[in-house]
């Protein structure tokens, strides 16, 4: 065990860099006070220096800097690489082995005839089916998720016995990996799984039903399992948001004898709006990108990310244009999502500032 620790810290220059950074901070600022506060002050020595030298105007940029740096390298640059993939042809991930092809991949994705062979294009049907099915999933998933998360957070914020225990229970599925979630619900929902057999024992159905692939049921169970698995995440955010509402408001209202329902509508919900917006936007984005649990359960419909994943051939099995097509699809998805999120934020912008 000790070897692992030693290995991690001896391997690269990073730990040394961090230690040096803090030492510089201690030297430059010479902070006083407890160890904790000295450490914290030392951490921010570039910002302190910048403020002393040139005032507070450039400071926001410095606060943003570390985050944007990592973003730029590891989140944003890959996005540009993605755009590059979508506009080039070839199977390699190296750009020097890819050929520029403009909007070819988008055409391969969207047009009726396949541009390389002249025959029918299967990709556009698959893509449009994936978009339509994912859209339906999102339309049901997001309101249900936000509603259930809100109710759960409200309930778990009250004075109830064993509150910590209940919170742990509702949160627990978030800690399970998608593979485990898929394993569990496959056992329950497969054709001769727990649900079918129990319902047959009770006499409610005659034949076992394939809950996950029956067209009538697949969407219901997809939404159900996805909500089950991710409820805790949004519940947690809302719980945190509920703490920002000052208690005196509640006390004043209850002294006036206001009913719980009015308190909810007039005090809680309005003040919870910024957090609700986080939850809605995140829930929308993540629902559009739902993939792992659904893939593990083999549901009938193919979600957008599942389509992208299968087409990209990144599992060591590249097809002639798969990477480009998948990249184009992901850019289109990103575009749709951007529009939806901006729309949503614009609509609730007036409630943003307290």
């Amino acid at each position: 065990m000790l070897d692992a620790v030693v290995n991690a810290f001896a391997g690269t220059r990073w730990p040394l860099g961090i230690v040096l950074y803090v030492i510089v901070g201690l030297v430059v600022l010479r902070p006083t006070g407890s160890i904790g506060s000295r450490f914290m002050t030392a951490l921010g020595w570039p910002l302190e220096l910048a403020q002393r030298l040139s005032g507070a105007t450039g400071l926001p940029y410095l606060f943003l800097l570390p985050n944007m740096l990592i973003f730029g390298l590891f989140t944003f640059a890959p996005m540009f690489i993605n755009i590059g993939f979508s506009m080039t042809d070839g199977q390699s991930i190296n750009f020097d082995q890819r050929v520029y092809s403009g909007s070819d991949n988008y055409q391969r994705l969207l047009s009726e005839t396949q541009i390389d062979t002249g025959g029918i294009n299967q990709e556009d049907d698959k893509f449009k089916a994936a978009v339509a099915d994912t859209f339906i999933f999102v339309v049901f998933q997001v309101p249900i998720m936000v509603l259930v998360a809100l109710i759960t957070a409200l309930v778990l914020n009250r004075d109830i016995i064993g509150r910590g225990f209940w919170r742990s229970i509702f949160f627990y599925p978030v800690m399970l990996s998608p593979v485990v979630v898929g394993f569990l619900w496959t056992l329950i929902l497969k054709r001769q799984g727990v649900l079918s057999l129990t319902l047959m024992d009770w006499g409610w159905i005659e034949e076992p039903i394939q809950w996950l692939t029956d067209p009538a049921w697949t969407m219901f169970w997809s939404v159900f399992v996805y909500t089950w698995a991710h409820l805790g995440f949004y519940m947690l955010i809302l719980l945190a948001g509920l703490q920002a509402i000052p208690k005196d408001l509640y006390e004043a209202a209850s002294m006036d004898g206001t009913s719980d329902w009015r308190i909810l509508r007039k005090i809680t919900l309005p003040l919870l709006t910024p957090t609700l917006m986080v939850v809605t936007v995140l829930s929308l984005v993540k629902a559009f990108q739902a993939f792992e649990e659904l893939y593990a359960m083999n549901v009938r419909w193919i979600s957008l990310v599942a389509y992208i994943f299968e087409t990209s051939g990144l599992r060591g099995q590249p097809t002639a244009h798969g990477l480009g097509i998948a990249a184009s699809a992901s850019m289109l998805v990103a575009g749709i999502l951007m529009l939806l999120s901006l729309l949503q934020m614009y609509v609730s912008r007036s409630k943003d500032k307290p």
Binding site: Q122, K190, Q210, T213, W301, G316, A320, H321
Partner: protein, 423 residues
């Protein structure tokens, strides 16, 4: 002074000897994955190699998922190891080290002629020697003998056709009231064998891939018919969507079906796990086109980016020798790809007769396929065969569930495959 010269010459000479010895002792990095104990056996063979040649082979065992998902990235960014155990034989062709200058090409051609083409690039000009197959896998069915006993149905003999087997399975299913008769893993890789048996050629006379020919259609119709009559279960192919792979082993293990169309890789799983019914590997059923089965397997290859090509090739050559190939096959309970060993047999040691007989049945399947449906071997070597494996279940499932007609499925299959391999 006179004494010192000889001493210093001696020192220089010995330093020279030492340095040449050090210079030829390379260290090779070998990335391996295992299902059971393959990498451990390879590590032992590597020790023997070190004693013989002085080169060290460092074996790093990782999960299969890592090799499947990440290895190509490593190859493309020159972060790859010297050797690796890979399954995508044709697909990595551009990265392989051609070992022909370093090995005895004639003996390789003699012993591995059937499998060497799998590594080469398509077109026929590539005649390089690129790797050593660690094992040969073959597709073929397993049956639940206890069910046949209980139902009082006779097990069809060697050489029976798929139709005869279907009759027998129907009888078993009727008698016992089980869910279905036959289950097949959801990939065209398992379906290819029966398709060949029904006459599918998969390649036209010019060597171009064609998928939907009369033989393929004949089998596809039979296949869809089996689902519709209930001989094949609804939990199998119809329960997946798109290109998802599904293993039908749980159905066989839980007694839902009487026959599982799978392959030789399940032998050790079934031998360890199945205690409550008698399972047996049976010779692959035949059809008008022959007795088709798909061969396959993983291989150890060296890569162009290696700094020690001679040592890497020497290691692979060492493993490919008859005695070492036999040692590996016996220790890992696998079928060897060495053609000499296939003829003369492998001493599997204390393996139970059940396992050794299953192995011999599958080896015989491979032999029959080589004779009657040689397109199976060509297909395994076709670098884009994974496109076929993935596309066919997608549309056939839709045909089974009735979303599209079989004819539409045929057109879609052809169009999709053409699009995915068009350059």
């Amino acid at each position: 002074m006179n004494l010192r010269l000889p001493l210093s010459t001696l020192a220089l000479a010995s330093a020279g000897l030492l340095s040449t010895h050090v210079a030829t002792a390379d260290e090779l990095k070998f990335l391996c994955y295992q299902d059971a104990n393959e990498c451990e056996v390879l590590a032992e063979l590597a020790e023997a190699f070190k004693t013989e040649s002085g080169h060290t082979v460092v074996t790093e065992t990782v999960g299969y998922d890592i090799i499947r998902d990440q290895f190509e990235n490593q190859l493309q960014t020159d972060a790859a190891p010297d050797l690796a155990r890979v399954t995508n034989l044709g697909g990595f062709n551009q990265y392989y080290l051609d070992m022909t200058p370093y090995v005895d090409a004639a003996s390789w051609e003699k012993n591995y002629s059937a499998v060497l083409p799998w590594f080469r690039s398509p077109g026929g000009e590539d005649q390089g020697i690129y790797g050593w197959m660690t094992q040969l896998t073959v597709t073929g069915p397993y049956i639940n003998v206890t069910m046949f006993d209980d139902a009082g149905v006779e097990i069809p003999a060697d050489g029976a056709t798929w139709d005869e087997w279907a009759v027998a399975l129907r009888a078993v299913k009727e008698e016992l009231g089980i869910n279905a008769g036959l289950a097949m893993d959801r990939t065209a890789h398992r379906m290819a064998g029966p398709a060949f048996s029904y006459g599918a050629k998969f390649f036209d006379d010019a060597g171009e891939p064609i998928l939907v020919d009369d033989g393929f259609k004949a089998f596809a119709e039979t296949f869809v018919g089996w689902h519709e009559e209930g001989l094949m279960p609804a939990e199998g192919w119809p329960a997946g969507s798109g290109t998802q792979y599904q293993n039908a082993a749980p159905l066989f293990l839980s007694g839902d079906v009487a026959m599982h169309m799978s392959g030789s890789w399940m032998i050790s799983n079934y031998a360890t796990n199945i205690k409550d019914f008698e399972w047996r590997a049976v010779p692959v059923p035949c059809g008008p086109g022959g007795c088709g089965a798909m061969p396959g397997g993983s291989a150890i290859t060296a890569f162009k980016s290696t700094k020690s090509p001679e040592a890497a090739a020497a290691f692979i050559d060492f493993l490919a020798r008859e005695e070492n190939a036999e040692k590996f096959a016996a220790a890992t309970k696998n079928i060897s790809a060495h053609q000499g060993l296939q003829q003369s047999g492998v001493d599997y040691g204390d393996t139970s007769p059940v396992v050794s007989q299953a192995l011999s049945v599958f080896a015989a399947n491979a032999g029959k396929a080589a004779q009657t449906t040689p397109q199976a071997y060509t297909f395994q070597g076709y670098s884009k065969n994974f496109v076929v494996y993935a596309v066919v279940p997608d549309y056939l499932t839709q045909a089974i569930t009735g979303e599209i007609t079989l004819d539409e499925a045929y057109t879609s299959i052809d169009a999709d495959i053409a699009a995915k391999i068009a350059e």
